[in-house]
């Protein structure tokens, strides 16, 4: 079944908001290689978001002139970076979600050709993102006592945000990685946050948007 424009908006907003979060690591990542990796992933997500927003309307209007309640990204994507373990668990969860989103859109002959084109490209970009996040989660979880403890803290903190993105497919991707990382989940039946589909968000989105949108709002209509 073709996705509704609300669903496409949730994919676009998820990619846009997560891209902005990852960009906050620039010049602050643990190593220069990680700075580059997170920058590359942020750039891919930004391009994917733009591609979808262009099919839904004016991309600048949608990105810079909507207020928080109009954003439809999953709550997970707007959560603060925390430490590197938090960022990697969040990325693992988001990458597993996008893997299913892009594969479904790329295989859907009823969707707009440009939407399918964005998805065909994103499927391959996502494969590299997943390779990166899953390798880090294993390395951190099955690492030192401190990295294990901090990654477990991240898992416990973020697991309640899986509800609006988790499917059987999602669990089947995420659970083996967490097991390999010697991390124990609270279980599929554990409590989860409600969805963001009615415009309900955490308090973190407003601050993120204030930074992301300030330039465009201070200079409406500005061009390079």
């Amino acid at each position: 079944m073709s996705p509704t424009s609300e669903q496409l908006l949730s994919y676009a907003d998820g990619a846009l908001v997560l891209s902005h979060r990852l960009s906050e690591w620039m010049s602050n990542a643990p190593t220069v290689e990680e700075d580059i990796a997170l920058g590359n992933i942020a750039l891919d997500l930004l391009g994917q978001a733009r591609g979808l927003l262009q099919t839904l309307g004016d991309e600048d209007q949608l990105a810079y002139f909507r207020d928080g309640q109009e954003f439809r990204n999953p709550l997970l994507c707007e959560l603060p970076n925390g430490d590197f373990a938090h960022t990697m668990i969040r990325q693992l969860f988001a990458d597993a979600w996008f893997a299913e989103v892009w594969a479904d859109l790329a295989a859907d002959n009823t969707v707009d050709a440009d939407v399918r084109g964005v998805a065909e490209k994103a499927v391959k970009e996502n494969a590299y993102h997943w390779r990166h996040s899953s390798a880090w989660v294993v390395r951190l979880g099955d690492g030192t006592d401190e990295s294990h403890r901090r990654t477990h803290d991240a898992l416990d903190a973020l697991w309640p945000y899986r509800g609006e993105i988790a499917s059987d497919h999602w669990y089947s991707r995420v659970e083996p990685v967490l097991a390999h990382a010697t991390l124990t989940t609270p279980g599929r039946d554990a409590w989860t946050q409600r969805s963001s589909s009615d415009g309900w968000h955490t308090e973190h989105l407003g601050y993120l948007l204030a930074e992301m949108q300030s330039l465009a709002r201070a200079h409406p209509g500005a061009t390079w």
């Binding site: 750039l43 084109g117 065909e120 490209k121 391959k124 970009e125």
Partner: protein, 163 residues
């Protein structure tokens, strides 16, 4: 690709437009020019480009450079973007891969199979030719590259990722 005698002039001009980040390759070498069509007795030309990566900053520069190059020879230039089918490194020619190697970048190793589980291993160090290489980082200086190192000559080098 539409390659007719009448569009040969446009293909020739495009073959001289370099990728802004890997200038040893032209936009034709990269495989992003999907179609070239001439109209109005050769006064008008339409070029269809397919971007390499979703967020590659070079995409907009390339579209501008293509337009500028063709405007030298045509009155009207249309630059179009086509997203589907998505660009793949399989569209790079063998000649392009040789150019990459000569530039110090290991070309993509093998054809792309979906889902993209096997991201490939560079066949050899582009500097000394040793097959003994190791990955340093899965992401590099541009979206299309990863950072590897040769275990024989110890030099780091870029690998153009399978995509």
């Amino acid at each position: 690709m539409v390659t007719t005698a009448t569009s040969a002039r446009a293909w020739q001009l495009l073959a001289a437009v370099p990728d802004p980040e890997i200038p040893v390759l032209s936009v034709v070498d990269l495989g992003i020019v999907r179609a070239v069509e001439e109209y109005d007795d050769g006064r008008r030309v339409a070029v269809t480009l397919t971007p390499t990566y979703s967020g590659c900053p070079a995409t907009e520069v390339i579209a501008r450079d293509v337009r500028t190059a063709l405007e030298a020879s045509y009155d009207v230039v249309d630059v179009r973007t086509q997203l589907s089918p998505a660009w793949t490194t399989d569209w790079m020619s063998d000649a392009a891969k040789d150019k990459l190697r000569g530039f110090g970048i290991a070309p993509p190793a093998g054809r792309v199979m979906l889902p993209l589980v096997d991201v490939g291993t560079p066949a050899a160090c582009p500097r000394c030719g040793s097959p003994s290489v190791e990955e340093l980082a899965g992401f590099g200086s541009t979206p299309c590259k990863a950072l590897w190192r040769c275990q024989a000559c110890r030099e780091p080098f870029d690998y153009f990722k399978k995509h």
